[in-house]
Symmetry: C3
């Protein structure tokens, strides 16, 4: 099963928590065992797992990624978003999350985040439910 969601981001860098949405998709499909593939069909965005409790972690992650890929760094690409392309390759656009016993098998503190690196934009996230065979 494939679902596609549209997201509207509001700032240049933003983390959108998808955990509840993914959880609801797994539950309404009554999937018991397998995995969920999340996929972002963009090249200046990404997906990551990180802490769901203290928003300061996302603040620190944002700043750290800015240090690793600064907005200006003598880039050649003319659109002014090379930093976002670099962040996308560092964090990744494809993320597999396990499902077990009918629920997302995440850790207590883990959330699934869509990562906007070149917002504000309208974005898509696709999720694919892959039940284990048999």
């Amino acid at each position: 099963m494939r679902l596609e969601w549209e997201l509207r981001t509001g700032t240049r860098t933003e983390f959108v928590d998808l955990t509840d949405r993914v959880r609801a998709a797994v539950e309404s499909a009554r999937m018991r065992e397998g995995s969920v593939l999340l996929f972002v069909p963009h090249t200046t965005a990404g997906l990551t797992l990180n802490e769901n409790a203290d928003p300061d972690v996302l603040f620190d992650l944002t700043r750290a990624l800015e240090r690793l890929a600064p907005l200006q760094a003598g880039y050649r690409h003319g659109e002014g978003n090379s930093d976002a392309h670099v962040k996308s390759s560092l964090v990744g656009c494809s993320l597999t999350v396990p499902v077990s016993g009918g629920r997302l098998d995440l850790g207590t503190w883990q959330a699934i985040y869509f990562c906007e690196f070149d917002g504000p934009r309208t974005r898509k996230v696709r999720i694919y439910l892959h039940p284990a065979p048999g």
Copy 2:
């Protein structure tokens, strides 16, 4: 189904676009729904998704990775390619791409790249077609 391709890279850092090859594999297997697992059995190379249009994006990504993992940085490993090992762990060697409706479910601007970080070399890329059950 498992395929293995051999690639010959020509420079130290190089991005080889695999998209057409992967697309052809999905089509000739008549796979409808599921995913393709791409895997690089090397520790100084990787796989990433990024822009397919402007080659300057790959130029900027190459430079950015060089800043993150410089060729020389007081490394201990004696082969002179520690930077390539670091880049490999940052970008990753395993990549899952969705298939839907009989085609690779990529975004308009996305290409699948093999990343050479310690070329020129002869390299292998393996792809595994994993149709969704049922």
Copy 3:
């Protein structure tokens, strides 16, 4: 099939080689074709593939990650482990490894590592065997 392993790490940053354990799990399940999903349910740890021969590669990788995400960098998060959260998002917590012909389809020099970034701690790693359908 889902397995959960407990690991006890001994230092702040540590790479624990899981390859033999994963190999044994694939063999005892008599799985022939498919993939193994490894998943770390933590936000200050990760999973990576890298060299299995020279431990200096792991030393260099440790140092490189420390440069990319230093222990102190004006972070806001009050637990003193923001660097570990950043490293976790860079390296990733979800890793898919192919299985073919009844064995892990790794390269000669590849090992699967659990990455501790905020040890010493007791950690969990989960693995899910996903045989190919049919």
